[in-house]
Point group: C2
Chain length 406, copies 2
């Protein structure tokens, strides 16, 4: 706490782009991130895409003296990539894995294997309880034809619900992460509207960094320039969001981003820019009501829009469930036909095997392969349908509750 | 509210055993459950194993007049099977899917396909906020060699953490469900110790029903008698647990179970007995502290025991990850060898194909099959290892925090 009951909190957020064997100059950058953070007096460091536990251990060893408390969130095949370093003791943690996260067969995108999640750490500073959330949502590979929009919306909704339900005893809520959504996208409007979180960039008294607060900029030597062609300034997809829930206020005094290179260096930390916020937390004389007390009518439109998009995803998933199911049935029929033919030959009904043995066996193996694959996909899309239906229903309930309160 | 500021709440909990095509006399029993509940004045009905949404819709239609509010939790391939009917409006819901839940290849057990979860519904009665949880943990197929114990322990831990983190603004916490654990099992001691939940059976002023409160009894015509041989009275695995978190007290005035048949009928509701509790909620003059304020030293032993069991599971998962990985590599080597042989023949290095074409192709298909299967299993066990490691670390953190506070 400074004088007059104000606590200053400095938060650092970065998508580290640390994919083993794939990310360029990974170890050098991890070392650079560690060295820079050690000398800068942040209170909280929220990192994403630290996929390798070895990288986390390296960071932990490097940062141990300045940030004695840390947590790595494990999930999925590869890991969630999420970790937190803190100057203050971490009292408790919880991980929530999003129920939808892309498709296992989209190997070139690979999001499914990461088990995308939101991690919560609870920290108490000068008697103030901070619920700190770190997350990374599904990537957007094509803005024009964004096949993952319904999944990202389900994630945004689950994130909002998880924050609401777990932060009821917190004084201050902080969320940092790569949300893979532009500031005006429906998912971020839903998340902010439903939780009451404020955007550090728009609220900041002072800002210094990339124009419009962009965090994926053409100026960064690791970004794919062709993907940023429609956005000459870059895009803003990494955020620090916050709110005070009880008798506190939070103000963002300063927000900074790196600008294509790490401070004083010739290479960037990552292909994303780091976001650094200086927050002032102040105890209020009079307690304020819960943030959901003031519902804006615009929230109804946002929830409706989100529901429509989830509905589009639901119908696509239902179509895929149907077509994979039909394929499985066809493969099964072919196998049964072959089995009947083979049995007929064995029983001497046919004079001799009408097909060459090799083609016959190859066909059978192909049918078995298609049957297994199609069944697996059918089960997967059945799960997808269930989760999209569940979210759509929840959004419907939310809408009804909002309309009643308006 | 009755006079003197006491609210009476009647809760009904039942594992309905409603598996389509498999459970005996399913539709008749669902009808019976609906008809009975309609005429009994329960306030809250917590059901498990309602796998089919059609059954839920049937129940909803039958119960609509008595319990106008309800929620069905969707998850997994089949569904979570969880639903709640309530006399009072449901304000909000949240679903948490357990990160481990058996193995997809254990088709005969099938738990994996259910996406086992805990569902939360928030209800406000006379100004008192109730957080009501309904859940169903992984089944125990063999008590002597319980291969699923580590998974069930991870679920019990996640359940405890989910309840703790989401119930901070609740006045009363209620949990109903089939926990698939005997009262003295480590998982239930962990759950109760870590959350402070009380067992309605042991706390009840009056009890009426099966001896020892058993909910799976030989007397029920649907139970498998051979499985209950070591337990002549049956076993108690279905629970109603509760606690008051703020300035309230909860007392269980009466607990009842069905006794092998539905009241006044000749068939049971299910292969499980229903658990019915009458709770009295009273506002206290003086607020009580959070239940975690009073830590019992025994909790340290419980957490240690749970950690040991999770460790056993972790080592088993690591062994399976290794052996499936090795199998995948061997299959890949065989395929490469075959490819080299085939290329050699094509290039005319060998005078003629040394193997018959049919066996050669069959072997190649077999190798591809083994490679795909082993790779899939390897990925699955990698996830399993990650989640067990994560839970073990959380238990270690919990242990450290407990020891510091003692």
């Amino acid at each position: 706490m400074e004088g007059d009951d104000t606590l200053q909190l400095r938060v650092f957020d970065l998508n580290c782009w640390a994919i083993r064997y794939l990310s360029k100059r990974r170890q050098e950058r991890i070392q650079l991130i560690g060295d820079t953070l050690r000398h800068q007096g942040f209170d909280l460091v929220l990192l994403q895409e630290v996929w390798s536990e070895q990288d986390y251990s390296d960071l932990k060893a490097r940062l141990g003296s300045s940030y004695p408390f840390s947590h790595y969130f494990r999930s999925g095949v590869i890991g969630s990539g999420l970790c937190v370093f803190s100057r203050f003791p971490i009292l408790d943690t919880l991980l929530y894995q999003y129920s939808l996260n892309g498709y296992p067969y989209m190997l070139q995108h690979g999001d499914w294997f990461c088990g995308k999640s939101v991690g919560l750490v609870i920290i108490k500073i000068s008697g103030i309880i901070f619920n700190v959330y770190v997350t990374h949502l599904h990537a957007e590979y094509s803005r024009e034809k964004d096949a993952y929009l319904p999944h990202r919306l389900v994630q945004a909704w689950e994130l909002a619900q998880f924050i609401r339900h777990t932060s009821k005893a917190a004084d201050v809520v902080l969320l940092g992460g790569d949300l893979n959504m532009h500031p005006e996208d429906v998912g971020i409007r839903l998340l902010r509207g439903w939780t009451g979180l404020q955007d550090a960039f728009t609220e900041a008294t002072r800002f210094e960094g990339c124009e419009d607060g962009c965090t994926l900029v053409p100026n960064n030597c690791f970004t794919v320039k062709s993907e940023l062609l429609p956005f000459p300034l870059g895009i803003r997809i990494d955020y620090i969001l916050y709110k005070a829930v009880s008798s506190f206020t939070v103000k963002c005094e300063e927000l900074k981003t790196t600008t294509g290179t790490a401070p004083g260096m010739d290479i960037p930390f990552s292909d994303h820019e780091a976001v650094m916020a200086t927050l002032h937390v102040r105890r209020q004389e009079q307690a304020v009501g819960a943030s959901l007390g003031t519902i804006e009518p615009a929230l109804v439109d946002v929830v409706t829009e989100a529901r429509t998009e989830v509905g589009v995803g639901l119908r696509a998933a239902q179509r895929q469930r149907y077509s994979t199911g039909r394929l499985a049935v066809l493969a099964l029929l072919l196998l049964l036909l072959q089995a009947a033919g083979a049995l007929g030959t064995l029983a001497g009904l046919a004079a001799e095997q009408p097909f060459p043995k090799l083609s016959f066996s190859l066909l059978a193996f192909l049918a078995i392969g298609v049957l297994l694959l199609a069944t697996g996909l059918h089960l997967f899309h059945t799960m997808e349908v269930k989760m999209l239906q569940g979210t759509e229903e929840q959004l419907r309930m939310a809408l009804r509750a909002l309309q009643e309160r308006l």
